[in-house]
Symmetry: D2
């Protein structure tokens, strides 16, 4: 009964079948095959606007490449102190951008707020002696399992645009946020001012491909060559593209995300007083004493202590393929603790 990570999830049968269906010989390699050439149109339909979409092999790659399209090597990126690009990507942003720096801003519930951004920006002169802010990076859903509303994103993106900053969104769990919000994907991206999105699939039923989505196709000029020189333009590009198409063309991405979110909501409902953050995606952060955590583990539940949220915090992630039994068992165990 493993709630450690959605990276432990399996691959959805539809995705697996799509990969298998692409397995035969194909006259065109790289991005010229029958799957890759459909990516732009499929994502444009999903987002109700013309976009450029590029398959990449990881969320780190998506963030690094997407930010490299926006930010020069001498630029800076405002982001949350707990952003994955800061905490868990081993310096991918300076690697892909040629040296850009992360400018960290704190915020409760994993969210950036205008006030904190203003405070940080007011301490940053921005003259030639300093890092030149060039972008704002948001995470949707956040690292704390919360989701920005369309209005929140529009406000933050507006703050950025007023300062001539580009807006990047790390959407490793974008599907969970959209499923939670019940909005159109466009509402929390380009309509709200987002320029580039890392569209996550792997945690959500995919196998080995995420997508970088550029909402300003004319800014995409450098992305193909940046992707190629980063070793991320696969010679058999159809396998990456087929996964992405399988996820989005018939709404699978939202279906799997809804399932995972429902599990998280079920767990949250079992321990409402323990919640450290609102549950607005597929992650649940709970206040649990050391003894309580030990007791749960003794029952066979796997989860991480989450020291970023304090000494008594634990994180439970619900996968798209989490057995309902396991969710119920955890809910029951949590209810029994109190």
């Amino acid at each position: 009964m493993d709630f450690l990570s959605d990276n432990a999830a399996g691959v959805h049968p539809t995705v697996l079948k799509a990969v298998a269906d692409a397995a035969g010989p194909e006259p065109s390699g790289y991005d010229a095959d029958r799957w890759s050439t459909r990516l732009d149109a499929a994502f444009s339909a999903l987002f109700e606007t013309p976009v450029r979409a590029f398959a990449v092999p990881s969320g780190t790659a998506a963030n690094g490449l997407g930010l490299a399209a926006l930010v020069p090597g001498y630029g800076g990126i405002w982001c949350h102190t707990e952003a994955h690009i800061h905490i868990d990507e081993a310096g991918a942003v300076p690697f892909f951008t040629g040296g850009a720096s992360l400018l960290l801003v704190p915020g409760a519930g994993g969210k950036l707020g205008i006030e904190a951004l203003d405070a940080a920006a007011s301490r940053h002169r921005g003259d030639v002696h300093q890092i030149q802010p060039a972008a704002l990076s948001l995470t949707q859903a956040t690292e704390s399992g919360t989701s920005y509303s369309p209005d929140e994103i529009a406000a933050l993106a507006g703050w950025a645009k007023a300062r001539d900053l580009q807006v990047h969104m790390d959407g490793a769990r974008f599907a969970n946020a959209v499923a939670h919000l019940g909005c159109a994907p466009a509402d929390v991206t380009w309509r709200a001012g987002v320029d580039v999105l890392s569209f996550g699939c792997i945690k959500n039923g995919g196998m080995s491909s995420e997508a970088v989505i550029l909402f300003q196709p004319d800014r995409a000029a450098s992305l193909p060559v940046r992707r190629k020189r980063a070793g991320m333009m696969p010679s058999k590009g159809r396998f990456a593209a087929a996964q992405l198409l399988a996820m989005i063309e018939d709404g699978l991405w939202l279906e799997t995300a809804r399932g995972a979110n429902a599990g998280a909501a079920r767990i949250a409902a079992a321990a409402p007083s323990r919640l450290l953050h609102p549950v607005q995606a597929n992650e649940v952060f709970l206040r649990l004493t050391e003894a309580e955590r030990a007791a749960l583990r003794a029952l066979g539940f796997g989860f991480y202590d989450w020291e970023l949220d304090g000494p008594e915090a634990a994180r439970f992630v619900v996968r798209w393929d989490q057995p309902p039994d396991a969710v119920e068992a955890l809910a029951g165990a949590l209810a029994a603790l109190a």
Copy 2:
């Protein structure tokens, strides 16, 4: 009847099955799953020496990452004027290494030779005002479809070691070279002085994963973090590892390569006087007039003109899954030309 590229090849059913077998949930992500943790041992067995093996999503990635483990940003890499790292990787080497430069050396048949290296090295002072040579990169099989013998590699690697240079091998078609030579994989790698190998699988029946092999495991210290920050450490690492294991654990990689080589040999035998290079892998380079090329294309054969070899050159690549009929048809058509 497409002889354009082995990138057009399908995925071998054994590889596809391995991927499908890994599709369920797996408690451990990244490189801790049951497949990824077997990679080092499997490649160590294949190479008869302890190695470190890292899955990466493309040959460009393998070359870039492997060279980054050997060469500092201020370093230089001796390589052939037609090396893939120079011609077809969009600057991946400077990207991954932080600025290293390629030092180009010509050579017939796609091969580097000691004499040409000596000549180039003698013109390169190597003082502080110049690029600091740090590695020699060989391609096996070469871009001209030839293969270095173990002795040739030993001589070249010896030349490198005498100058304190590391030795890198781009093995996008390593399997074809080994199948042709009939030697042990070790004979054309570490036993001959190679330090890092890009072990190709994708062209040869794989799906989306190549491997970087380090023959001096103690030099591998930086590779895991370099790979992570390059966005190439997949969160569901098992799918990459499973492909590689499927290729090497039961000799599939040599079986598919032998098949492709045999097709190339059949074609070569049909037009021996037209051969531009010895056929020592799965590529055939032929002298064909414009009219002859047009005639072949009219018959339905796909292939590239190959201007690097002159105005009357054409390249035919035989895939591991090339239908024998197509090979026979091409052989017949070539024989009929004369």
Copy 3:
């Protein structure tokens, strides 16, 4: 009566004369002239140990190049939240190192402390998903005008060495710190565990050259070529070297620093209750209301508001060539405020 910055200082006549004396033709360019070839010996004598010394054109260059000799592109550098390398060098560290990240740690009085470092390090897992800490950077004297004692540096360097980290010192005002401490230069550098020092001269009577000092000469292998490819190996190297020699060979660097420190001490003595930090170099940070600051400016005193220290903070920097009259006038004006 300008107390804005020691960058406003003039050039000491001894330095100017040294430059003029080097103005004739010189058979050897770059680093082979009669001045450049003496640098290592002169700095080795100053530091009582064999060192390598490299002239560079700015403190930013010294820090960037020195850290590049210690830290790989995937590395991290623990430093103070107000460190010049973070606040005022426009991203030079990622530029010179190929992407290294600064890991910020707060501390009163501009100083890093073991407790804060421990706290920060305990939140940094350091696994392959994270920035790999590789160095600790200290500033001596600090940005708050305080100086680390030899024992403090030894403790911090010990903390670093226990974690296999290299130790860098930004010594833009190293002279002022040594003059204040009255210790040997070695006592606050290599004897205490410092590996690389940016030795400042420009603020302290120099013209256009600082020095990078490597206390482990065998680690210096890459520095000459890094410096050359960074465009910092001047073809007429004698002018940079002559400045540095003029500063250190006869103790001028300490003489000018003592003068500046004395001025700062005089000012501090005039307003002891207003001091925001102990005055241990040539900078004085004072609590002054907006009205008081306006009054001082009306009297002709130039200085910066210093918001990093709060809304009522002001910074006064005493130059080596500050006219004693101006110091006395400021001391008098401050005393008269109360």
Copy 4:
């Protein structure tokens, strides 16, 4: 009697005096002093068009920074096989640009020609798998002591513009070229299509400063911050600016260049049948047997063998401050050889 290098030259008294005149305290640091703030206007006057001018500490720095303003990290730069940026700058171009590659083109007399560029470009597909050409770099005067005429530059720049490439000029000996051509500086730069110029002073009577000149000031947006983060924005910027102003404001740069050129012409006239290249600046390349070279050296003449021009080639560089006696002596010795 040293003809090894113009880097051995002294500093012109006018430049030295300008430095001395700037030695006093100056209220404004960095680029805000009374000298730095005049740079743009002075160079704009010299070039008869509005330009931005930035002082940098070396020719390598000028080339690196200037190209970084034009070329992205994934870009390529067409240049001569003997270009200083390729042969003698230790990889500065990839360092400053974040990885750009040099695309080498041969040419007699150190010059690039349209035919050779066409041939090289025709072999470079330029698709996403390849380096993306972004600039053409010319050297004026060339490494072979020849100078491009205004028409030649216009033709080359036209070739570049037709391919959407920026044009960079390495002008380490720009003064010698202009002095030889007798044209306006504008005629061989922006009027002919040059976008960025490295304006050399150090070899020509300067001390420690060159200039980057941007002829499209709106392209200069990133240069100040690139220069700062490269450690090349001196805190006492007046010393660099004063040197540049002393060189250009009263025509000194052409006066010193004319003197050096005259010396080279005198030497060339003494050995016309030995000339390997036309003498169009201050360098003379001569065919001399090993015995002849030994004889000249026995007479006390210093010069380099020049293997790039063959086994019997020697290079003589005339400095701006070369004693006329030495020139006459060399001319006499050469005449006596035959």
